[in-house]
Amino acid sequence: MATAFKSYRPPVMEPSEEGDELLEVAMGPHHPSTHGVFRMDVALDGERVVKLKPVFGYLHRNHEKIAETASYLAAMPYTDRLDYFCSLTNNWAYALAVEKLAGLEVPERAQYIRVITAELTRIQNHASAIGFLLQEMGASGTPLMYAFREREKILDLFEELTGSRMMCNYMRFGGCRVELPKGWLDKVKTVVDGLPQFIDETEALLTGNEILMARSQGVGVLKPDLAVNAGITGPMLRAAGVNYDIRKVDHYGIYDRFKFRVPLGDHGDIYDRYMIRVLEARESVEILKQALKDVPAGPIMDPKSKIRGFRPKVGEAYGRIEAPKGELGFYLISDGTGNPYRYRVRPPSLINLTVLEDMCLGQNVADVVLIFGSVDIVLGEVDR
């Protein structure tokens, strides 16, 4: 069939003057702005980017294969290492997929704990993402350290709950691993009460900042139709103005019980992505306040679920959640044995980079760093 449908490809750009030579630069793999080991092969016409090809795989460890040779339970701690900023949402996505595969129910109390931990994760992720973005803009240290100060408080909570600050390994199929420590919810309340002030401070420092506005407004624009076609998810999609938040769409967990808004951007530029993250963090605080009010008592595990010797019936399931960086999905095929026949991670970080070239073409090379930073990726998830 002839291609009657619309296909979305990045434009092929030429040097501005005929006969001009292009300068090819390899940005990365060891470049402070690449958030890990990642390379962009950039072709420059003066300062203007005319071609950009991302190169992946420096951190590839074949996570999927490792999980396919291990039991369902043994894959849980590995999911922490995907997006190591947000291990609790990774846990949740995997647990959700397994619950769909095996038809497990999650008790009320565990659902509330999941929402609380996931929203705390979202806030610390967005705070750090903004901090890193400003770091790359040249605001050396200050915004990032403010973000990390707040992140520390949340990580302390995680440590008390799960025993680990970053590699939490907390959720299980059909619930959570351990009961809340005594007084933990009160500590969460104290931290959550302090968060609006932190977000206000961040906004006072940054939102009206001239340098931030000059460098980010109208830079790295992503159009909504391209964003949808390229499967962009998370704050980047909503900054482009597409109303799609899996918490609202899928109602996974108990998100339909909470009142929160989905902030949307108008321009799809870096500034909008910054702003969406700030506003999402505020909405997360609202969710946390509502969730903390009525955490019920009760069990934290589905009594039907069997953690060890877990063998789901033959079949497959795709489960997804709204992780801080976008849609994190797990696709599992069971052949009835103790380890998954197929275990697939749908990484938001990798797929959000699909449009990196489209956003960077025609921009200055200095802006590539910012555009890349505004995508908010973690290489542990990109390369798996």
């Binding site: 069939m1 294969k65 949808v228 769409v249 497959e316 197929r342 749908r346």
Partner: protein, 214 residues
């Protein structure tokens, strides 16, 4: 959200020549899938994307699955002539089911996100075998989000997507030869090994030392 059966009926109505088959999923998730025949896959995919009613504009996940050939033992009833009379005899027959590679796509609709979503719309395509006929049509022209994911399938499973704009390895390095996510993949003894001038250099050093000493 429509069920897989309703979507199948819609495809049959719009594209009667396309071979589409419903694949049932016995797990509690009940996410049934549609198997496309590769020749019409792009047409079906663009129909699913552009149809106003379905509007499956968002391809969330694309991945591969390896199904190696397996030996199946079956009991077959055969009539044989035993002592001049026809008798039914049960015989065990071994049969090899040929293996294949499969590409799986999970679709959602962002346009109709407000609709209750029961689950993803799952598309599957099979290659003819696992060795030399591993081509499938690329769905990247329809959904750009498949671009990196199809490169990953090509890299790790070895499915060759025809019509993909930039089919290269994505995670493994270009010189790598095997496909690590295949079930029969064997790791090399030593990932670090690469031919160096070591032996040659050591030999020359030995000769040099011998010359100096002598």
């Amino acid at each position: 959200m429509k069920t897989a059966e309703e979507i199948l009926a819609a495809i049959k109505l719009a594209l009667p020549e396309a071979g589409v088959e419903l694949v049932l999923n016995p797990s509690p998730s009940a996410q049934h899938s549609l198997r496309l025949d590769p020749a019409h896959a792009v047409a079906v995919a663009s129909f699913l994307r552009d149809d106003a009613e379905l509007a499956l504009d968002y391809c969330s996940n694309a991945t591969g699955v390896d199904w190696p050939s397996k030996e199946v033992t079956e009991k077959v009833k055969v009539t044989k002539v035993v002592d001049g009379a026809d008798t039914a005899v049960e015989e065990t027959v071994k049969r090899v089911e040929p293996g294949y590679l499969e590409a799986v796509y999970h679709l959602f609709s962002m346009k109709h996100a407000h609709r209750e979503i029961a689950g993803p719309v799952v598309l599957r395509m099979r290659t003819i075998n696992r060795t030399d006929q591993v081509e499938l049509p690329s769905l990247t022209p329809v959904w750009r989000s498949a671009e990196f994911q199809e490169r990953e399938i090509f890299d790790l499973f070895g499915i060759e997507f025809t019509g993909h704009p930039d089919l290269r390895r994505i995670l493994m390095w270009d010189g790598f030869e095997d496909h690590p996510m295949r079930r029969d993949y064997v790791d090399p003894d030593d990932y670090e090994y690469e031919p160096t001038a070591h032996d040659e250099v050591l030999k020359r050093t030995a000769e040099h030392k011998a010359g100096v000493v002598a």
